[in-house]
Symmetry: C2
Subunit: 234 residues, 2 copies
């Protein structure tokens, strides 16, 4: 009898943005796992902390900081072995995921390492995408509009090519790429209607027109929302 | 003293996918509003029904079926007047929204009709986008990949142009457009890896490889998820 692996979206940061389903599973499972930095506290665990019943086995998926985005294969291999040991002993394991498990999360690195035989259930969560739109009270898309979700680290030419024909866009992971993103939006005439959102649904949340944001101040977890024809909107 | 207008995401359909915050507000507000067909029951209200405390004022935003996507302006004007009357009497109103309020929802038609002076808070919800990915246990995007969200009613040439260079795509509102979407994906070599999802997070949920879906059977609320290089994946 194998345990079930849950990919558990815990939402964008506010512990009240967990779903009822995530809360139930969080309280029921004998083991949890969560991404964490090489040293120090896990932001993901912190979102769920107030809801934890205590007494659960915990696996901190600690990853060294690595240049570029390559996942740390050997580390994942080892952590997934720990997770599989729980599953094979019949214990369910919930992997906590900030936002949604399958939207720019690390859960897929766990998922692709499972070799079948273990039931998997993904519990979707509120993603940073809709959390930022909510913070800005800015419609993302409606009717037959298209939305492009674009990571800011993309090369400037690629960002521009992908932004040129969209109705709306969410530019993620802005950080040090802010000046580049601003240049592209300015060339396309999209800067005036753009909104900058930082720490959505967390203490210190900031929502500003992009025009009022200084270059150099954006943290990694910030987002720029763009809608064509929004320049005149509130 | 004015009331607050809440845009309340109630998630994709499973009442357990409400957030704790949506649940709290749902129980506290003296008035709720929700989209509904011209006649019959509201799917959105049904998602929240088990959580309603009873005794609240209810405004069903009943919309006539109209060819095309133009919102029914006169109807929205009238319903927003009703909502504003509550707000001006100091009563909070929660507008229930399937999925997320700002992701292809009708909440924006309420939002744009408020003439300021009333505080607005949007509570993000689990969107159909991440609900479908969860149902398929299929990663949407990771690292620096881009995601295109595309409504299937778009013209065939536009769909193809927008799909040609993406890493991943979610094609919404498939319905009668399934044969067209399939033709486009087939021409681009993306059909083999595509997943079809119907009624995600509801009774009767279906997840199938697109190759195994018959033309003509897709309901309006179905989605096709595409990832480049997924042909060999489970």
């Amino acid at each position: 009898m194998t345990g079930t692996l849950y990919g558990l979206g815990v939402g964008p940061g506010d512990p009240e943005l967990l779903t009822l389903k995530a809360l139930r599973i969080l309280r029921e499972v004998p083991a949890i796992a969560y991404p964490a930095p090489e040293k120090g506290d896990s932001m993901t665990r912190a979102i769920a902390a107030a809801h934890l019943p205590g007494g659960q086995a915990e696996i901190a998926l600690r990853m060294p900081m690595i240049a570029g985005d390559a996942p740390a294969d050997a580390h994942y291999d080892r952590y997934v072995s720990e997770i599989v040991a729980h599953l094979e002993a019949g214990r369910d394991v919930a992997v906590l995921c900030e936002g949604d498990p399958l939207f720019y999360g690390s859960f897929m690195y766990v998922l692709i390492r499972l070799e079948g035989g273990h039931p998997v259930e993904v519990v979707p969560g509120v993603s940073s995408l809709t959390a930022c739109a909510a913070a800005a009270a800015m419609p993302l898309v409606s009717r037959n509009e298209t939305l492009a979700v674009l990571p800011a680290p993309l090369p400037e030419e690629e960002l521009e090519a992908r932004l040129v024909s969209v109705h709306a866009a969410a530019i993620m992971k802005v950080g040090r790429h802010l000046p580049k993103v601003r240049r592209v939006l300015s060339r396309l005439g999209l800067e005036d209607g753009a909104r900058y959102v930082e720490r959505a649904c967390l203490d210190g949340e900031k929502v500003l027109p992009l025009n009022e944001v200084d270059d150099g101040r954006a943290p990694y977890f910030s987002m720029i929302l763009v809608r064509k024809g929004m320049a005149a909107a509130p």
